[in-house]
């Protein structure tokens, strides 16, 4: 089925028909991967408009690094088990290049909920809404976005759908309807077995990041990217302003020949020993 699918995937018209066959006639995995569109990890953060908005000048946007792990594992599972992978983003059209990249990496189609994600609750509500309409077996995302670092969206989505959620997941194996998960807990790891459907927040080493190849980039251009409108939600939070940390004082250099002084300074001056 996979080979059959690939042979047609360059043709947009046939793909629509084919996708429905893939979903209905095979016992296959239906996977949703949620991605964030975030400033590159090396981005210098500054604000404009009276410190109410991120200064996007010169900032390169990327798929969240944790989401990238989720996507890579999702693609592997899809390729092994057959099935479909939909990539989902809540946000504006500026994320489309990153969504296309996810399609080039191996997602079959994409959904973009056309709304500014106001907060975690709002983003989760939109994801849950899409999930309710499509009943996915597996909903994968990064353990946290690297802009807000909250790490709560997977839990919110899980609860909104009434299904288990786990994070951070470092290993995911599937045997039919059963998932075996290794996740990080405080001071160690835990391995557990649980049946699908699930929401998982992923981190390395769940999979290696994938780089799109030329074929992927070509086919991504014609894969469907469906833009849908958000569901209404109560406003639970309003952003007020951003602040930058106070600039760090100068580093006090200690000559290597007097390295021992460091220990005394840490005790008497910094008072951290």
């Amino acid at each position: 089925m996979l080979a059959y699918y690939l042979s047609f995937s360059v043709n947009c018209m046939d793909k629509v028909i084919l996708r429905s066959i893939t979903i209905h006639n095979c016992i296959t995995m239906k996977i949703l991967v949620c991605i964030t569109n975030v400033p590159d990890t090396t981005a210098k953060i500054a604000f404009t408009d009276n410190d109410t908005k991120l200064n996007k000048n010169g900032i390169q946007y990327i798929i969240g690094p944790y989401d990238d792990y989720a996507l890579a594992r999702g693609v592997e599972i899809k390729e092994q088990s057959g099935g479909t992978l939909t990539v989902l983003h809540v946000g504006g059209a500026e994320a489309d290049p990153q969504i296309r990249k996810a399609l080039a990496i191996g997602a079959d189609d994409a959904i973009r909920v056309n709304a500014e994600p106001l907060d975690s609750y709002y983003a989760a509500l939109q994801i849950a809404q899409v999930a309710k309409q499509n009943s996915y077996d597996l909903i994968l995302m990064g353990r946290e976005s690297i802009d807000y670092n909250s790490g709560v969206v997977h839990g919110l989505v899980g609860e909104m759908l009434g299904i288990p959620s786990y994070s951070p997941v470092m290993k995911l194996d599937l045997d039919g309807n059963q998932a075996t998960i290794t996740r990080e807990i405080d001071g160690g790891n835990e391995i557990l077995k649980v049946s699908l459907p699930l929401v998982l927040g992923c981190q390395e080493p769940i999979a290696e990041w994938k780089i799109p190849n030329m074929r992927g980039i070509m086919t991504a251009r014609t894969k469907p990217l469906n833009v849908v409108e958000p569901v209404a939600s109560e406003i639970l939070t309003t952003p007020e302003k951003y602040t930058l940390p106070a600039p760090k004082g100068a580093c006090r250099m200690i000559p290597a020949s007097e390295a021992e002084t460091l220990i005394r300074l840490l005790k008497t001056e910094a008072k951290v020993l």
Partner: protein, 324 residues
């Protein structure tokens, strides 16, 4: 109005980070004329739980159940929601951790509450309830107004000074708490729990000694480990080091690894890539030891030594031992 504070237990003791959480919650309650109520899940002696009183808690709800042996955010969130409802709490405080975030998230969905994770200050409660939290991996802070009736805050480590005897009168009342569970709470079967060998968990440690590629190979780690022992510190490493398998993955500190906020972070042979800094910028004091005077990490450091790590580390270990 009451403030409900979830605390984490480990081997029957309240985790140190959770003592901070109690102190934080007690301050919020005090400001608003409410009671600080603690929720503890799992086995612990009454004498241990009573300690919560010294940090400002009035009462401890204690839930124990055989099935709660493993971290289970679904069941734990169930308990949290029922405690919030019973105590009519309007503010819920949890410590920042994987479990804390997961419980906060699931409870928020049930209670239709705003959840703000990574909080770094006490909230403003005169007027609109406003909190400040860390964003962009510690590169900035965001201040947010919360409008929902119930507010859930997940609080970072090292946010407030903890006074062990905040309340002279001492002991909190311990009340057994027996929540109802849902069937799906126990859907998973835990088949193995692997605790890593490090005696100290990185997120709990007050002092961390961390090594980078400048350590030149896994066989050279002993001087760093010795120094860490002399200081009672946990050991960590940079991403390249864990990628090269010189050190285990769970020691990786940085943007995509563990984010730490110790009182003292000592970086040995780490140049200080921005992704590494994102994992340590919550540290109170940073020391950088590197042979390269141009290493960018010095710009983020409080103290620096330029020199040969393998010559310097044993001397620091001796000096630290003498201090004890």
């Amino acid at each position: 109005m009451s403030v409900l504070i979830y605390i984490e237990l480990e081997n029957g003791s309240i985790k140190k980070t959770s003592l901070e959480t109690i102190a934080y919650g007690a301050k919020v309650a005090e400001k608003n004329g409410g009671k600080a109520i603690v929720l503890a899940i799992g086995n612990a002696d009454a004498s241990e739980l009573e300690k919560a009183g010294r940090y400002g808690a009035a009462k401890v709800l204690h839930a124990t159940d055989q099935r709660l042996e493993h971290e289970n955010s679904m069941a734990y969130a169930d308990i949290l929601v029922q405690a919030v409802q019973q105590e009519e709490s309007k503010v819920v405080i949890l410590p920042k951790s994987g479990l804390g975030d997961a419980m906060a998230a699931r409870a928020a969905a049930r209670l239709k509450a705003a959840v703000v994770s990574g909080v770094t200050q006490l909230p403003e409660t005169d007027g609109v309830f406003t909190v400040t939290r860390s964003v962009f991996s510690g590169k900035a802070f965001a201040t947010t107004q919360i409008h929902s009736e119930i507010k859930i805050l997940v609080v970072k480590k090292n946010v407030i000074e903890v006074d062990e005897n905040a309340v002279a009168t001492g002991n909190a009342e311990i009340v057994p708490f027996s929540p109802a569970f849902r069937g799906e709470d126990f859907k998973a079967t835990v088949i193995q729990v692997e605790k890593t060998n490090t005696e100290l968990s990185l997120t709990e440690a007050d002092i961390i000694v961390s090594g980078g590629r400048g350590m030149k190979g896994p066989e050279n780690w002993q001087p760093l480990v010795d120094f860490a022992h002399a200081l009672g510190a946990a050991t960590g490493c940079s991403k390249p080091v864990s990628d090269l398998d010189w050190r285990p993955h769970h020691e990786h500190i940085g943007q995509t690894g563990i984010k730490v906020a110790p009182n003292l972070y000592i970086a040995c042979g780490i140049s200080g890539a921005i992704q590494h800094l994102a994992g340590v910028n919550g540290s109170k004091c940073i020391v950088v030891i590197n042979k390269d005077p141009e290493a960018p990490f010095f710009k983020a450091a409080d103290y620096g030594i330029v020199g040969d790590i393998f010559e310097i580390l044993p001397r620091l270990t001796e000096a630290a031992k003498k201090l004890k």
